[in-house]
C-alpha cells in the first residue's frame, strides 16, 4: 500500500514537470532550430496600395543573412508569405522594432498599430521608428559590412530610452498608442534619415492622429526634447552666440487662464556653459547676465515659432490640452479643445539659470 502511494506521488510529480515544461502535443512547436524570431519589420509603401514589408533572415543562426521583402496587402499576410518562402517559421515574440517609411506614415498607420496591439506575442515595448529613404536598399548594402546592424540599432534606441538620456526621441508602442488614443494629445516618433554612409537621426515626426504631418529637426528638435520628451539635454549648442550649454535640465510650468484664451508656458532651465568661443567676458556677471538674456530671447522666439507651427497644424504633442482637465468639472470635447488651441495665444517664457564658467577663460584680461 505504501509503495503504491509512493509510486503514485512520483508519477504525479513527473506529470507535473512534464506539463510545466510545455511538452504537450497541442502547443506550438518552438524548437529553436526551426524558428526564426525576427527582431524587426520594416514597412513601406508598395505598388497599388500594397505594403512592402522586409526583414533580415535568419535572425539567429550564423548563416548568410539575406534581406527578404514581400509585397502584401495585409501585414500578417507578410508573415505567412515569409513562412512559405523560408525554411524556418517566423515568430514575432522577439520583435524589437518596427520601421515605418515616411510615405506610409503620411497615409496613416492606425491599422498597423492595431495589428501590433492585437497580437499578444508582440511586446508593448517595441520601438517605432520613421525612416526617410529606402531602408530595404540600405539593409542590403549593409549586410556585408555590418551583420548585426539591426541589433546595434536596437541597442542605440534602448540606450537613449532608459533613464531619459535626452538626445533623441524614442517612442515605444505603448507610448504611441496612449498618445494616439487619449484626447488632447497627438503622437510623435523619431525620424531617421538614410544617407549613403549610414543612418542618422533627423528629428521628430509630429502626427495628427495617426498621420505624419511634419518633421521637426535641428534646434526645433532640441527644444522639443527639452520641453516635452526628456526634459534633459546633454548639450545644447547655440551657434548664434557661439555658446554651448551643457547638462540642460528643464522644468515646465503651464498656466492657462480661465477663459482658455491665453496660456503662459514657462520653461525653467538649469544649465552651465560648457563652451564659449565668443568675445564677451563671461566672468563679468553683467556680461553673463546679458548673455543669459540673449539666450532666453532666442529660445523664446524659437519655441514660439515651434508652438505656432503646432497650432497651425492642429497637433498637440505637448499635451497642452491636458491642462484644461480639472478634478471637479466635466472635460471638454476634443474638437472644442482643438478649435481653442488653434486660436490660443501662447506666451513662452524662459528663465535660465546658468552656472558661470568654472575654469579659466582663454581671453581673460589680466593675463
Amino acid at each position: 500500500m505504501r509503495l503504491h502511494k509512493k509510486i503514485f506521488k512520483r508519477l504525479i510529480l513527473l506529470f507535473m514537470t512534464f506539463w510545466l515544461s510545455g511538452c504537450a502535443h497541442f502547443t506550438k512547436n518552438n524548437l529553436i532550430e526551426e524558428i526564426s524570431p525576427i527582431t524587426f519589420l520594416s514597412i513601406s509603401k508598395g505598388d497599388k496600395g500594397k505594403l512592402k514589408i522586409s526583414t533580415i533572415l535568419p535572425p539567429l543562426s550564423k548563416e548568410k543573412k539575406i534581406v527578404m521583402s514581400q509585397e502584401v496587402s495585409l501585414l500578417k499576410e507578410g508573415v505567412q508569405k515569409y513562412n512559405l518562402n523560408f525554411y524556418q517559421e517566423i515568430k514575432s515574440g522577439q520583435m524589437r522594432m518596427l520601421v515605418i517609411s515616411e510615405e506610409l506614415g503620411k497615409d496613416g498607420i492606425m491599422s498597423i498599430i492595431n495589428v501590433l496591439l492585437t497580437d499578444p506575442d508582440i511586446s508593448l515595448r517595441i520601438y517605432l521608428v520613421i525612416v526617410k529613404g529606402n531602408f530595404e536598399e540600405y539593409l542590403e548594402s549593409q549586410l556585408d559590412k555590418d551583420e548585426n546592424f539591426d541589433y546595434s540599432f536596437y541597442r542605440m534606441l534602448k540606450h537613449y530610452e532608459e533613464k531619459n538620456q535626452g538626445e533623441l526621441t524614442v517612442v515605444n508602442l505603448h507610448e504611441f498608442k496612449n498618445l494616439l488614443y487619449t484626447p488632447y494629445s497627438d503622437p510623435f516618433l523619431p525620424v531617421f534619415k538614410i544617407q549613403e554612409d549610414g543612418v542618422s537621426y533627423e528629428g521628430t515626426a509630429l502626427f495628427q492622429d495617426d498621420k505624419l504631418v511634419e518633421t521637426i529637426s535641428s534646434l526645433d528638435d532640441r527644444i522639443f526634447q527639452l520641453i516635452n520628451n526628456d526634459h534633459y539635454l546633454e548639450v545644447l549648442p547655440i551657434p548664434k552666440f557661439e555658446v554651448v550649454l551643457g547638462h540642460v535640465r528643464s522644468k515646465i510650468i503651464v498656466d492657462i487662464d480661465s477663459s482658455y484664451s491665453t496660456m503662459t508656458y514657462t520653461v525653467n532651465i538649469d544649465t552651465r556653459i560648457e563652451e564659449y568661443r565668443g568675445e564677451k567676458q563671461l566672468f563679468d556677471p553683467k556680461e553673463l547676465e546679458n548673455m543669459k538674456k540673449n539666450i532666453e530671447t532666442h529660445l523664446e522666439k524659437q519655441t514660439h515659432e515651434l508652438v505656432k507651427k503646432m497650432q497651425e497644424l492642429k497637433v498637440d504633442p505637448l499635451q497642452l490640452g491636458v491642462q484644461t482637465k480639472r478634478p471637479f468639472s466635466k472635460p471638454m470635447e476634443e474638437k472644442k479643445w482643438i478649435e481653442m488651441f488653434e486660436k490660443m495665444d501662447i506666451k513662452i517664457k524662459y528663465i535660465i539659470n546658468i552656472d558661470s564658467l568654472t575654469d579659466a577663460n582663454s581671453k581673460r584680461q589680466n593675463l
Binding site: 497541442f26 502547443t27 508593448l124 531619459n164 487619449t182 478634478p327 471637479f328 468639472s329 472635460p331
Partner: protein
C-alpha cells in the same frame, strides 16, 4: 483503502484563515477584467463605497458564524430552515455554484489560451485545471481551507509589481480627472453590479462554519480580509487608469494582464506568464472549494445525507461539472455575445447571493430567536 472523509472535522481554523478566505475568494476573476468596465476615474469612490457595504454584509455573516448552529453544519441549517427547505435551497445553490465555477474557470482558461497557449483548446485547459482541483478537493475540506495559505502567498506578491505604474513617466495626475461623476450613464449601473459581484464570495463562508474557530474577533478578521480586497481593487484600478488613461481602458479586454506584459526584467522577458501561472494557485484553491461545496450540496439536495461521503462520489460530481463546463464553453463562452450574457448573469447572481444569503440567514435567525452561542 482508507475511506475518504471529505467533510470530517478534526481541527478548526482561526481568524487568519477566515481573513485569507474572504480576501482570496474576492480576488478570483472579475478583478482582471474590472477596469475595462469601470472605465471612469470616479468609480474609485464606488469601489470604496461598495467595499463598505460589503463590510456590513460581513457583519451579518459573522453574526451567523458566532452561533452554535453554524458550527453544526448541515444539522444547524436543518434546525434553522427545516429539512425540506434546506434541500430546496441547496438545489438552487447548485446552480449558483455551477455558474460561478463556469465563469471563473472558463474565464481563466480563456486568458491562458490568449496569452500563453494560443493554439490549445480551452477545454483541455479546463481539464487540466480540474485535474489539479480534483487532487486538492480529494484531500477534504480541511486541507482545502488550509490551501488558502499557499494560494495567498503565491498570488499576493504580484500586486507589488504594479507600484511601477504609480511613478512617472507613466503616472500623470490628470489621468484621474474628473474625480466626481458629471453624468450617470446606464453602463455605470453595470459597473456597480460588477463591483458588488466582485466582492461576492465570502457568502460561501456560511457553509464553512464547522471549520472556523469563531470568537468575538471573527468580524475583525473578516473585515481585514475585505479591507485588503478594497485596497487591492482600488490600487489596481488606479494603476490601470494611469497606464491606459480612461479613454483606452474600455478597448482593452484584459487590462491587468496587458499591464503585466509591460513589465520588463532582464531574466524573464515575459513576467506576465509567470504571474498568470501563479494566479492559477488561487483558481485551483477556489475551484476545489466550490467542487466540495457542490458535492456536499448535491448530497443534501438529493437526500443522500445518510450515506458517507466518498471519493468516488466527489469524482462523479466533478465529472458531471466538467461535462457541464465543456457544454457551457462550447455553447456560451466561445461566442462573444453569449459570453457577455453569461458574465451578466454571474454579475447579477453574484450580487444577489452575496446580498441575500447573509441577510436571509440573519432574518430567519432573528425570527427563530437564535442567539449568540445559545445552545439549541
Amino acid at each position: 483503502m482508507e475511506t475518504h472523509q471529505l467533510f470530517k472535522k478534526n481541527e478548526t481554523y482561526n481568524g487568519l484563515y477566515a481573513m485569507l478566505l474572504v480576501n482570496r475568494l474576492q480576488m478570483l476573476y472579475f478583478f482582471l477584467i474590472m477596469p475595462s468596465i469601470l472605465i471612469n476615474p470616479y468609480m474609485i469612490w464606488v469601489l470604496i463605497a461598495v467595499g463598505i457595504l460589503s463590510q456590513l454584509n460581513l457583519l451579518l455573516l459573522s453574526k451567523w458564524l458566532l452561533t452554535r448552529l453554524s458550527s453544526n453544519g448541515y444539522n444547524g441549517f436543518v434546525q434553522l430552515f427545516g429539512e425540506k427547505l434546506v434541500r430546496f435551497l441547496s438545489f438552487i445553490g447548485l446552480f449558483f455554484i455551477l455558474l460561478k465555477l463556469s465563469v471563473i474557470t472558463l474565464g481563466f482558461s480563456e486568458i491562458i489560451q490568449t496569452f500563453m497557449f494560443p493554439s490549445t483548446d480551452t477545454n483541455f485547459l479546463v481539464f487540466f485545471i480540474f485535474l489539479f482541483c480534483c487532487y486538492v478537493a480529494s484531500k477534504g475540506v480541511e486541507h482545502t481551507i488550509r490551501f488558502v495559505l499557499i494560494s495567498f502567498f503565491c498570488t499576493f506578491w504580484m500586486i507589488t509589481f504594479f507600484v511601477f505604474f504609480f511613478f512617472p513617466p507613466i503616472a500623470q495626475l490628470s489621468d484621474l480627472y474628473p474625480l466626481i461623476p458629471m453624468d450617470w450613464k446606464v453602463e455605470n449601473w453595470k459597473a456597480f453590479f460588477l463591483i458588488l459581484s466582485s466582492y461576492s464570495g465570502p457568502e460561501f463562508l456560511v457553509f464553512l462554519g464547522p471549520w472556523l474557530k469563531t470568537n468575538n474577533k471573527t468580524f475583525r478578521y473578516l473585515s481585514y480580509g475585505n479591507a485588503l480586497t478594497v485596497v487591492e481593487y482600488v490600487f489596481l484600478f488606479i494603476a490601470s487608469l494611469l497606464y491606459f488613461g480612461s479613454n483606452y481602458l474600455s478597448k482593452s479586454k484584459y487590462p491587468i494582464i496587458n499591464m503585466a506584459r509591460y513589465f520588463q526584467n532582464p531574466v524573464f522577458e515575459r513576467i506576465d506568464m509567470v504571474m498568470l501561472s501563479f494566479e492559477l494557485f488561487n483558481l485551483v484553491f477556489a475551484v476545489s472549494l466550490f467542487l466540495l461545496l457542490f458535492y456536499g450540496a448535491s448530497k443534501i439536495a438529493f437526500g443522500k445525507m445518510s450515506k458517507p461521503s466518498s471519493g468516488k462520489g466527489l469524482l462523479f460530481s466533478v465529472f458531471l461539472i466538467f461535462i457541464g463546463m465543456v457544454l457551457v464553453n462550447e455553447l456560451f463562452w466561445k461566442s462573444w455575445e453569449k459570453q457577455n450574457f453569461l458574465l451578466n448573469l454571474q454579475i447579477i447572481a453574484g450580487s444577489i447571493s452575496y446580498f441575500l444569503v447573509p441577510l436571509i440567514i440573519v432574518l430567519v435567525m432573528k425570527k427563530k430567536g437564535v442567539k449568540k452561542h445559545a445552545s439549541t
